[in-house]
Amino acid sequence: MGNEILKAPIGGTGAANQDVFSATLQELAATDRNIVVVTSDSRGSGKLVPFGKKYPAQIVEVGIAEQNLVGMAAGLASAGKKVFAVSPACFLTARALEQIKNDVAYSNNPVKLIGISAGVSYGALGSTHHSLHDFAVLRAIHNMTIVVPADSFETTQAVQQVAASEQPYYLRFGKKPMPLLDETGETTFQIGKGRVIRRGSDVAIIANGETVFPALQAARKLATENGIEATVVSMHTIKPLDEKLLSELALECKAILTVEEHSVNGGLGEACASWLLKNRYHKPFDILGIPDEYTVTGSQVEILNHYGISESGIASRVKTLLNTLT
């Protein structure tokens, strides 16, 4: 196997990223009374009930009203509050998109938008509750940094870093327990810099959020079964994209596959493709995400498996991609 950084046991269950978000925010609120959470009847799904009990003066409930959630968050932030506006990603980034665009990004109010239960986390609840558009719409909005942590380490770091920053952010979390991808503490996490989880020279698999773990599983499977060595990157920040890392991957690896829990249109894959082509890196390249169709019914895992966003699906896609080289 490659010179792998990761030492965590594969298949172990860690905490869900949105639970880690909530716990981290509680820690921050303990010493910073300016931290304010705004929710739209979403404190339960955001695991913020303990936060609300512990810091009742630092949680604002607006009811089921996402536009008002973001508008008020912008007002609170402009008056000096460190605001985390928490709502399911599907509603936050669709219903309140104009408030995100104008009240947060354009007005430069440093709201931290927290999209919870993102991607297809809600499974069989269907398309109304899926957010497969959020990367695409937010990428097109100036002054919006988009961060999609993969595990509890990245989540903790991301929450701490955005809390200390006076810029707008969108953080996206799922509710599935995620194994810790690195227990060594050797790696650093910096918004805007991709995190290399595993190194190999045959192919680069660039993933984010909850798809990094199956990408890593696939990389191990490819190494064991096929002798294919894959680099796996947690490209947690989609915007701004880590262009330096992208160029290194393009130089080091023979092919690149991107993986995301998002529509294949307008997300991580297209962001990478666009940059690589513009900079004349002509590599075998593929985008694995949710295709442009009505999503199949099922649990999150069933939906992801259906579209090949899984250990075997990703491995298979890599082999197909590498076959184009021969």
Binding site: Q67, Q99, N102, N108
Partner: protein, 269 residues
């Protein structure tokens, strides 16, 4: 009060002057709301170029952003920037675009999309309560933007959080781009709607600076409730041929019309 009335005439002349120069602008609405801005900035708001970054300043957020010319002429008069800057209004590479933007000193929030002022204002007002600060927040809304649902989401929340440091002013000129507001989407009885949402309501002649000052002086109308001033105004107020005529929503005067209008606005009625 004569000074205040003269100030309104001066502001109206400047609104027309810069719309005429820019060959663009929202003439009718700027003329309908200018008395409100006049009274706010000269008699009510605790804000100045010197205190604009103070956390204790009063905030004014203009929800009906398209009537930015009214805001810009007042901010220039209050010294937030040189009036000559307005020569660049809507010109290539100017900061002075056709809606409020924070690139212009004195502007609190970037607005222009309707239905955004009240939610943001409620957020600022709530922050004041949380921080035990006694500044107040004012937002100016058009009657045409009231069907935007975000306004009513914020109206609920403002009452829920007892934001009596928040004052919304509705510039009720009765006309929007398609026609009379009551024909486009009737919002009457507006007072009863706000009352039922938990607001304290007062009607006022929105082109009468004395009446406006009295209303602002009476804030909050009821302790523990947000206040709304329903300001009955005339679109195009102050220029005879513009008053209540829809074509002046964003009409730009010809040279001849401009001269007549400036003549009408040069003397007290």
């Amino acid at each position: 009060m004569e000074n205040l009335k003269e100030k309104s005439r001066e502001y109206r002349r400047n609104i027309l002057k810069y719309i005429y120069k820019a060959k663009a602008g929202h003439t009718g609405g700027s003329l309908s709301c200018i008395d409100i801005l006049n009274v706010l900035y000269n008699e009510v708001l605790n804000v100045s170029p010197e205190t604009f970054t103070s956390p204790d300043r009063d905030r004014y957020i203009q929800s009906k952003g398209h009537c930015v010319e009214a805001l810009f002429v007042v901010l220039a008069d209050k010294g937030f920037f040189p009036e000559s800057d307005l020569e660049t209004l809507c010109k290539y590479q100017s900061h002075y675009i056709g809606h409020p933007t924070r690139k212009v000193n004195g502007v609190e929030q970037n607005t222009g999309a309707l239905g955004h002022g009240l939610p943001m204002s409620a957020g600022v007002a709530l922050a004041a309560k949380m921080d035990n600060r006694d500044y107040r927040v004012f937002t100016l809304m058009g009657d045409g933007e009231l069907p935007e649902g975000s306004n009513w989401e914020a109206a609920l929340t403002a009452a829920h959080y007892k934001l009596d440091n928040l004052c919304a002013i509705v510039d009720l000129n009765g006309l929007q781009i398609t026609g009379p507001t009551k024909d486009v989407c009737n919002t009457e009885p507006l007072d009863k709607k706000f009352e039922s949402f938990g607001w304290a309501v007062r009607h006022v002649d929105g082109n009468d600076v004395v009446a406006l000052k009295e209303a602002f002086d009476a804030l909050p109308f009821e302790k523990g409730k947000p206040s709304v001033i329903i300001a009955h105004t005339v679109k195009g107020k102050g220029v005879s041929f513009m008053e209540n005529d829809l074509k002046w929503h964003h009409g730009v005067p010809t040279e001849e019309q401009y001269k007549i209008a400036m003549q009408e606005l040069s003397t007290a009625p």
